[in-house]
């Protein structure tokens, strides 16, 4: 059976279309979910896409966290549902306390938009099991508030538990502590990533096809996961 992967649209989401496209190219059925509808419609995994939910008012992701769909997503994620938050989605996952730390204004205050090399540090998560540990991938980065911060104890714990999923290579685009580009929760089913794998799934528009691995990973994970 084809896996069904939900993509949530919030007011101000920008990359929901590309995320749904990446899901389809990876071989799954994308299911569009709406912020105001708490029903996840039986999806097997959820992507929170990039963009500017609620205009980034207050703090990025702070208001989206209270959207009706998020109550269900948070509950399901705690129960093991694979959830990938990309860019604004990463910010929402931190605001919802599914991931530790926070994303703050880029240290240099500039929006950064470029192709970025990442090193996959944790290849055991639901969203990265198609990669080799240490594998380098090229995906676009585009953010104004992508600087990952957490207190030193939290950072040490993430490192010790192998929960730093990806790091920036060849220059840190936003000042993120310890060059962190992506992290995961303790169970490895929730991943937040600041760069955009969904923009690197086709030769026509992406700098590589490396992003596809995140979406094929979840399909592998779902096949192996107990029902």
């Amino acid at each position: 059976m084809t896996a069904r992967v939900g993509v949530v649209t919030f007011p101000g989401s920008l990359d929901d279309g590309d995320a749904a496209r990446a899901v389809r190219i990876a071989g799954a059925e994308p299911v569009r979910l709406w912020h105001g509808d708490p029903d996840l419609h039986g999806v097997d995994a959820v992507v929170l896409p990039g963009g500017f939910s609620y205009g980034d008012y207050l703090r990025c992701g702070a208001i989206a966290r209270f959207a009706p769909v998020m109550e269900t997503v948070v509950q399901a994620a705690r129960g093991g549902l694979p959830v990938l938050g990309i860019c604004n989605g990463f910010q929402i996952l931190c605001e919802a306390h599914l991931l530790p730390g926070a994303l703050t204004r880029n240290q240099h205050l500039h929006f950064r938009n470029r192709d970025q090399v990442l090193r996959i540090e944790a290849a055991g998560t639901a969203w990265t099991n198609a990669f080799q540990p240490g594998q380098e991938v090229l995906v676009p980065v585009k953010n104004g508030e992508g600087c990952y911060v957490a207190d030193p104890a939290t950072l040490d714990r993430l490192e010790a538990e192998g929960r730093v999923v990806a790091r920036y290579l060849g220059g840190n685009p936003n000042g993120s502590q310890r060059d962190i580009a992506a992290i995961t929760n303790e169970a490895g089913n929730v991943v937040g990533i600041m760069p955009h794998p969904e923009h690197a799934v086709e030769a026509l528009t992406g700098p590589s096809l490396d992003g596809l691995g995140f979406f094929t990973s979840v399909l592998k994970h779902l096949v192996g996961a107990p029902a």
Partner: protein, 87 residues
């Protein structure tokens, strides 16, 4: 109408690049005696009834501030004080 004011500031250990950018611009105004600038956010809440500090604290903790990176304080202001603050 009395209001509850919530002041939200980045924790001291969190870098404030906006504040730094402002501090770096001050010498261009001829100001050379400012050591640092930190930028926060002031939120004014009007309740339908009496101002409720505990409720304001709850709102601040859950939504207005992110306790991972920010601290907040709450206090009640009367209309008079409010006018004073804006003068």
């Amino acid at each position: 109408m009395p209001r509850v004011v919530v002041d939200v500031m980045l924790k001291p250990e969190i870098l404030d690049p906006q504040g730094q950018a402002v501090a770096n611009a001050l010498p261009r105004l001829g100001v050379s005696d400012v050591a640092s600038v930190r930028i926060g956010r002031r939120i004014e809440i009007e309740f339908t009834g009496e101002p409720d500090l505990d409720r304001a604290r709850e709102i601040a903790d859950k939504l207005l501030a992110n306790p991972v990176i920010e601290d907040f304080t709450v206090h009640v202001v009367t209309a008079d004080e409010n006018a004073g603050a804006h003068s």
